[in-house]
């Protein structure tokens, strides 16, 4: 198999690009989760705020990635920065949406009894509401991660790190035998990362879901 040979010969590249790809996606997911959960917590109780936050983050997701990378090129230059900013913007909406849904699904009776036990607003949120909503929130994070893994490949247009480089190099050599190998290797790399991230989620979800609702 020529393709397997190719992968073995380029295994250093594959690993390095994979780490770059995973790094840029991991960082963006982290930022999107922190921002998204905060936005969700800040807005879930008021309908107006909820709708505004969902509309704006939804609009981010609607902007084609190629266009957004180019628009960020002016203020942020080439490299990792525009990719991380764009990916974070794309990752927000599933996290915010699931945070809001998760928090709203918490049984009001549970919150009320927590209040009756003398827990402050902050304690209720951190000890009762967020842990109960967590499985829904982390599902949103998972959706974000899968979407971002795919979009990150387009980041190669602005010299972002990751497997997109192989795909675009392959495109530039269309018609030569190595082109197919390059593009397949890039695609395979992203799929492998998707499976790995998914396994990671499965583990994280198990470990971070509080025992009572597992």
């Amino acid at each position: 198999m020529d393709f397997v040979d190719f992968l073995v010969r380029r295994s250093d590249d594959m690993l390095e690009l994979g780490l770059g790809h995973a790094g840029v996606v991991g960082l963006s997911v982290l930022l999107a989760t922190v921002l998204g959960v905060s936005l969700g917590v800040a807005s879930y109780q008021r309908e107006r705020a909820r709708e505004a936050v969902l509309a704006v983050t939804g609009a981010f997701l609607t902007i084609p990635s190629f266009a957004l990378f180019i628009l960020l090129l002016g203020p942020l230059g080439l490299g990792t920065a525009p990719v991380v900013v764009a990916l974070t913007m794309y990752g927000l909406m599933p996290v915010v949406r699931n945070t809001i849904t998760g928090l709203r699904e918490v049984d009001p009776a549970v919150v009320e009894s927590a209040q009756g036990m003398g827990l402050s607003r902050r304690q209720r949120l951190l000890r009762i509401e967020l842990p109960l909503a967590w499985p829904v929130i982390i599902t949103g994070v998972r959706v974000s991660t899968l979407v971002l893994l795919g979009i990150a490949a387009i980041g190669a247009i602005v010299n972002g790190p990751g497997y997109g480089e192989l795909i675009f190099t392959g495109l530039a050599r269309v018609g030569t035998p190595v082109a197919v190998d390059l593009v397949l290797a890039g695609t395979l790399g992203v799929i492998v990362l998707a499976v790995l991230f998914d396994l990671l989620f499965y583990a994280v979800r198990r470990l971070t879901t509080s025992e009572g609702i597992r």
Partner: protein, 264 residues
Amino acid sequence: MSAPTSDDTTTQPAVTEEYHAGHRRSLAGYLVMPGVLALACLVLYVYVSQQELDSIEARSLNAATLTGALWEHVQLTAVSTVLTLLIAVPLGIVFTRPFTRPIRSYLITLLTLGQAVPTIAVLVLLAVVFLFLGFWAAIVGLVLYAIIPVLLNTMVGLEQVDKAVLEAGRGMGMARFTVLRRLELPLAVPVILAGVRTALVINVGTATLVTYINAGGLGDVIVAGLSTNRVTIQIVGAALTAVLALLIDYLAGIAEDLLRPRGL
């Protein structure tokens, strides 16, 4: 691959539904987006018209070139979305019939993971493996990519229909096909419509990339700006793409509100 849990399949649907249902906008809410988009276009127009364009910029930034690219983009989006729906909705119906139950949760996990395949990879693979370029290659790539979310949405929509309603239908003497046509499909319409909107948004975005396989669209403008190093052209191309995508999403949202069956 993680074993699909029943949890995975139940939380996601509930979430999609919550966001799209119960979403009634006020008149002012309907006017915000067109206002923002019109303002963006105006700012763009003023910005460009105040610049002294050199000959390379003038070649890309004129009404004929831009409307041509825009029209190609709209055609790509429309054709690919129609084909996506014609394939994905019937497939969704087939996959939710009882005989697929044993494999359904694996199928859903597989489809979810499939969404991570980069759009650009699908398009470029068509080009480098089959040397398949141009409009129809782009359509094939767009449809292949957009099928997954619409299929997932259709399946989720059909599955969340209350089983008691279907049983009542059967009890009234309806044939299975009648139950599907008169009860299941109408009740699943909101979720399927959400899938249509998703397909439109994905296709309008991916269509920006088909310039790399010689299929035109607004991506042509951006790439012309990139290859000649003209920032103004890049910005115009990117901004027009963003405006078009947001406009299409906005119109699809209105269609979603209007087409939802009464009583839901």
